[in-house]
Symmetry: C3
């Protein structure tokens, strides 16, 4: 399955990008070097010197520029070579690719497609870990698995009953009910009422409660979810209409998650989670992050094992179930967008 290129991929946590320290990542199999100059400018270049293909990420930041520390070529932030030691003439084609990059919501986002089409409005509205309304923990995991498999996992929460019985404590009734699935322009919305809220044993309430949880799963692999607890009967009263988040009487929390394809069979998974300031504190956040840590290790074990089976099963095909509606909608969107990108490239060529 293809990936969309005209999209913003999470490449790092903002806090992990130190000033004047090159940061290497591979996205969609392309080596990218990120750096933040001393004036605070964020830059992203192809991580491959034009000269002898050494990685620029082993280089040195000099003002706004980046010097390759193999033979000293100096690159401007637009990718053009500014200096070649011992040589006066700089060939006009001496440049590497520059990627649009934005620091937003405490993530570094890199646009992997046509630079002219990079539109910051397409950056998914994640909640940054430094947002004052929320008390968020964060972490990341590297997977020996295709990013697509992690996206599939996040688009079908029925696995909570089976993969996460021990961590999130979901019971069989969770997988027995189907969520509401709504197509979005750049993704899919998945929402559900839980009469027996996930995690409720750990969040006891005096009065009967029901929880609502809703997430948008957005191109190229970003999950943004909030949950909250409502008085019993709210679901029946509202019908299929979603409640207002801050009408919840307790338990409002938010998680932002992003899946980045590093290379074939390799991915990085970023996540933050925690309560709204109204409904929790650092201790609650730490309990939630402890659960998440256990749960995401459960996912990783299953998905990496699934990847191994797929790798040794060239002809095998999936058999979607009724729970795959979100996956199918999302993957069709990916295929449609990837196809139109490809056709655009073809017609331009």
């Amino acid at each position: 399955m293809p990936y969309v290129r005209n999209a913003w991929y999470v490449a790092a946590w903002s806090c992990d990008l130190e000033v004047a320290k090159p940061f290497a990542i591979s996205i969609l199999g392309e080596p990218v070097v990120l750096w933040r100059s001393e004036t605070g400018q964020l830059n992203a270049l192809e991580d491959r010197c034009v000269h002898r293909l050494a990685p620029l990420s082993l280089g040195r930041c000099e003002g706004e520029a980046l010097r390759c520390l193999y033979h000293g070529l100096l690159f401007a932030r637009d990718g053009k070579v500014l200096e070649i030691p011992g040589q006066n003439l700089i060939p006009p084609n001496a440049k590497v690719r520059a990627y649009p990059a934005v620091d937003k919501h405490d993530w570094i986002w890199v646009w992997m497609g046509e630079a002219a089409l990079a539109d910051e409005r397409l950056i998914p509205p994640a909640v940054g870990v430094s947002e004052p309304d929320w008390i968020l923990g964060h972490g990341q995991l590297d997977y020996a698995a295709e990013a697509r498999l992690i996206c599939d996992n996040l688009l079908d929460f029925s696995h909570l009953t089976y993969v996460h019985a021990a961590s999130f404590g979901a019971g069989p009734e969770f997988a027995d009910h189907l969520p509401m699935i709504t197509p979005l322009e750049r993704g899919v919305r998945v929402a559900r009422w839980l009469s027996n809220p996930v995690g409720s044993p750990r969040n006891p309430h005096g009065a009967p409660m029901e929880a609502f949880q809703s997430y948008d799963f957005l191109i190229p692999g970003v999950l943004l979810m909030w949950s909250g607890n409502y008085p019993a009967g709210t679901a029946a009263k509202l019908g299929s209409v979603a409640p207002e988040m801050m009408d919840a009487v307790s338990g409002v929390n938010f998680t932002s998650q992003a899946v980045t394809p590093l290379a074939e069979g390799k991915s990085r998974y970023y996540f933050s989670w925690g309560p709204h300031v109204r409904d929790g504190d650092a201790q609650k956040r730490d309990i939630m992050m402890g659960m998440a840590g256990q749960a995401f290790a459960e996912d990783k074990k299953m998905i990496e094992a699934q990847q191994q089976v797929i790798a040794t099963s060239p002809g095998a095909r999936v058999m979607p179930t009724v729970h795959d509606k979100g996956i199918t909608l999302y993957n069709r969107l990916v295929e449609k967008l990837a196809k139109s990108e490809f056709e655009l490239l073809e017609s331009a060529a």
Copy 2:
């Protein structure tokens, strides 16, 4: 070289298959999950969920069935899907392959070919480790080598003089003499008289002795060997006729060994060895297993090195010697059987 599929492959020691605990193995590159239900029923399925290809071996036994712990599909022992959470209709093609599996001679045997042809009479007559007539130790080794190379090794014992001089103590005279080779319907018999018995320095006898050892090497890679010591002159008296095992005056012992191809370049080697109750005890068994442990490590070192050379020598061909008669007969049988299986599949298609 091909492998025979219509054959019983050793997939585990019986004692390693705990009740209600799925056991994963790859045989001939196919992922297989084995489990023993609470009623004692032995089951073997394709280890790949029909839904999203997760391994069923990460699943949970429920009565006679096995539940995938990714999204909860439940599989009957014949491979059919019994339940899909949240979905009433089970598609008729929702099933994985079931493999005939038998627990016999303290090994779990799996039939990798056409299920209709599975015939328990084709299970090689190994001596189980729990057989009361024998005092057997057992072990196993994983190889980074093709199973075929281990079979070749076992079919030509002339390597004892060179690979196992330090462990089994075979001298040059061992490699200088050719064994008697007899074709069998499903393998090859290799028998020899040893006037200077292997291991004799460790098994001194008052009177001059000669030893007889005979093994059948059977499809798909099972070696069954007994040895025993006879009064000097027995060989000459019997000519080429094999002696009766229990006519031996001492030293009767038995080893069952099996080579299972896990995947390309990967194999598992199972072995048991020990004396007949008449001729030894646990201490003798432990001495023999100590020798075997040293010897099989010697084999592994040589065969894995051989595999490395072969892997980097695409065009290189073997040059059989006079000692390769058993190998040649056996490999021709494998090729003949594999070819006829292939033709049967072709004509059915």
Copy 3:
């Protein structure tokens, strides 16, 4: 890029080849076993038994011959099989390839091409570590990189300014000046005057000095370099003529280095370095080797990272700079020699 086969490759340090102990190495992807017989004879054979392709390097030296310790075939030093246990007739084609091998300058050199063309005069005139005129340390490093990339590195010292600023202490002026490049029959000569000698902070002189350094880089990847310090003004006086080595007033030193392609993406790098007896002692040698150890680790880090980038950049091409003149000359020579070798083989076939 191809490699030249009709050339002497360094296969080991002489001192690492113990008497009657087989030594394994892969050169240009071919497994080679070296051994020194008890009479001192040096031998090199294809490390792959004719019988079942086991490595002869797991074998045993017997007089001038080498016995395979899998099934006991005995090989003469010309590669012919002398004995097959249990078999009287030796097939005439029972032989492995023998490689010309020479012990010279404290290195073992193996000729990988047409044996008839092996000419000892083509062995590069390295300075052996046991030469009494020099006080040399030595070492080696294995690279997860193509040998070609290490050769490229050694043919363009402008990287000293960037890769080795911390170890060899080269400043920007080093990369700003071009060396004198002279084509040789089997390589390239690279020479330069340094008004601010590399390492000078560690080698202070009372009077102003300038250093001359000159190296020959020779097929198939051997660097032979000497340096020395001269009174300021010598460069101007001599023009482009090289000074006599022993006219140097101090600091005369020599390094021999060799790059051997083990297999695709794998190389071994051998090096010795130290002062002339007139200009230094064991302590000076140790200081130099300490610097070299740090510097060669810097190279390895950069070159292995470069290899990784190249491995994931199928279409990427290099863009030579003015400093690549030596690389270009040398690589053209390699291509020319490899092409003529290939044509010779074609016409012979």
